[in-house]
């Protein structure tokens, strides 16, 4: 019997994933990955409740349950990466890093060490012969977060929810009386929680107030709490009074200045070509098409593009493409890989 270690977060998706695997006849072992257990001032990380929920579901499915402690690795590789990127003025994506370094590397390796044949997660995605394919539910598709996973890892991965919609998942979980069936969706990264990125980063990065400068006139028109908190194309939270809205069109980390403009068509916000670095191809060996589709953030619409070397040329201009974020490349239903925007 194929032995599958399924990552169980205590949420409804991974709970149902485990239940489906049991029903499909796999020898299933539930694993909670302990990545972050620290409570920061004013925010309680619900890891203990999540762990208890995951275990409760595993016990009721009659399967073995284990806890893998990746807290140190997660802090060193995911949290630190995120903080470093913000310090550079970039907009990083810790979920992508978590999949690359923790779930599809550490978790996979530890599972194989302990006798697993395959691993599984509750992601909305599909695999086929080591290829990564979009989920049936386009709206929930999570391949954006998975583009840095290797072919070797995908060959050993099952995504039991790949053909389901979120609604179906909730319904099926409720039909099985899983205690997590009605649980609220966890928003973003656990450790950032409800307080938001600004408060979280404030714990780790020393920030200085600085000027907000109107790019066209060069006038200082306001103050900010720290340039790292601003991201390209951002409109809200600038506190610059009435009139037409301002948008962030750039920032200078050295001078700690944030540049804004009332011109919604500012060249800095709208880009048609993207330079990529740290490109990762899921299948490095096979031929890749020149005409592809690109997603520049999770759930963003796919845009036709041409890739030549490290340069993506988009069919249309796209708004707010930011350094540090990922551009993920597709050919039809297949996720080919992607890279980090320079």
């Amino acid at each position: 019997m194929t032995k599958v270690f399924v990552g169980m977060s205590g949420g409804v998706d991974s709970s149902l994933a485990a239940a489906l695997l049991v029903e499909q006849g796999y020898d299933v072992i539930g694993v909670y990955m302990k990545n972050w257990s620290q409570d920061l001032p004013g925010m309680k990380c619900p890891w203990a409740e999540d762990l208890a929920d995951a275990k409760r579901v595993a016990v009721k499915l009659g399967i073995d349950f284990r806890v893998f402690d990746f807290e140190r690795e997660y802090r060193d590789q995911v949290v630190q990466y995120m903080i470093d990127e913000y310090k550079l003025g970039h907009t990083p994506n810790p979920d992508i890093m978590c999949n690359q370094e923790v779930k599809f590397k550490l978790f996979l390796d530890a599972s194989l060490d302990q006798g697993a044949d395959m691993i599984a997660t509750g992601h909305y995605a599909k695999t086929s012969d080591g290829n990564l394919l979009k989920a049936t539910d386009e709206n929930k598709d999570q391949t954006y977060f998975l583009y840095r996973v290797t072919k070797e890892a995908l060959e050993k991965t099952l995504f039991p929810l790949g053909d389901m919609t979120k609604q179906q998942v909730r319904k099926e979980a409720a039909a099985r009386s899983l205690v997590t069936a009605g649980k609220k969706e966890s928003m973003g990264v656990c450790f950032v929680g409800q307080v938001g990125m600004k408060e979280f980063l404030g714990q780790y990065v020393e920030t200085q107030p600085g000027d907000i400068v109107d790019k066209q006139s060069g006038d200082k028109i306001g103050r900010h709490d720290g340039a790292i908190f601003y991201t390209l194309g951002q409109r809200h939270g600038l506190d610059l009074g009435g009139g037409l809205p301002y948008y962030v069109v750039g920032k200078d980390m050295e001078r700690n200045e944030v540049y804004v403009s009332r011109n919604i068509n500012d060249d800095n916000i709208w880009r048609q070509t993207i330079e990529l670095q740290n490109i990762h191809w899921i299948d490095e060996s096979s031929e890749r098409p020149r005409d592809v589709q690109v997603r520049i953030r999770h759930r963003a619409a796919l845009v036709d593009a041409v890739i030549e070397g490290n340069t993506l040329t988009l069919a249309d201009k796209q708004r707010a493409i930011t350094s540090g974020q990922s551009a993920v490349i597709y050919s039809g239903n297949k996720c080919l890989g992607g890279g980090v925007v320079v």
């Binding site: 203990a48 409740e49 762990l51 208890a52 275990k55 409760r56 016990v59 009721k60 009659g62 073995d64 349950f65 806890v67 009386s177």
Partner: protein, 402 residues
Amino acid sequence: MCTVAIQLRVKKCYNTRVNTPDSIYLDYAAAAPVDKRVLEVMQPYFSEEFFNPSSPYAPAVKVRREYEAAKDRLAHTFGAKGDEVVITAGATESINLAFNGIKGDIITSKIEHSAVISAAKHHGGVVFVKPTEAGLISAKSIAESMTPQTELVSVQLANHELGTIQPLREIAAVIKQERETRAESGNKTPILFHSDASQGFGSIDVHIARLGVDMLTLNSGKIYGPKQVGLLWHKPSVKLSPLIFGGGQEAGVRSGTENVAGVIGFAKAAQLATGKLSDTAKLRDLMQTRLLDKFPQAVVSGHKKKRLPNFLHISFPGIDAERVIFLLEDEGVYVATGSACAASRQTKSNVLDAIGMDDSLARGSLRLTLGRGTTSEMVNVAIDKIVAVIESEYMRLEGYVA
């Protein structure tokens, strides 16, 4: 939230199983339902006799008198006077208040409730005495830890995980001896004896003169009274240092408008808690015998004789107790792991650690605590279900040899 049927059957809080047969609650050491008779006497003080006891008009004065009378009745149940009692919001606050005025060193045990351990650590200068394997804090171990600077000794009446009853009178004798030694040698450092009697009050004799303590913490929620009500009794000679400042209620030691309904309920609960408990001990022994017959490898912890009559702490080698709890909840049986606070946090209980239980055995520990009106029928049904669940877990585990 939960509707609590009187007697011991607790209605389900949540939707899915409301209409199934009654559930069996075996975790009275964690919480007890408010007794119907307690609720009844509390009722008028919410919307009718709602007055502030500090107000000057007659109906408020009446409430003040009833409040003071309830404190007296409450204090009488353990041989004290009402004005020696400070009402607090639960036992944790009472413990923190007891520790607050202490300047010198503290001796306590490694198996106290986390409220005592945390308050002691916060205070600093503390020695944690090791218990015996049965969870007993010997008077000798207290005597050996004593220094001329010791100002407070705090030992629980009974252990909250094992049910072991501590020899408070013998410890009190050690403290009396130390006082005499200090008087002879001219050492003016005072020494006080405090006990957290949250577990045990209501099940065994609690009388301040017989216990020989200077301060005593009691809790209403564990004796079928309302939660968030507790008290600190202190000898009139003991000067307490307030934690909460304000209007000067409770003789200036604990400000805040009096919790009249809570104290009326606490007093009633304490008066009701004097019933005989030999039947409870018989049911506990029945549980213990049945589980040990079925699982001879199981280990019962706590003192064989000096144990609260409603406590059974039992450990099953190789078993993960938390799994057992999750399986039993589906059967409508609610029990605790060896330590309620430690569940899911993957931290070992300080009690089991201190009595030298190894980690894997500690992991397989259940605490079963009986309550008022637990019947033999309920115990037998619960044990059938516990046996079935543990057998299924043993079968699941590889390499298990029956």
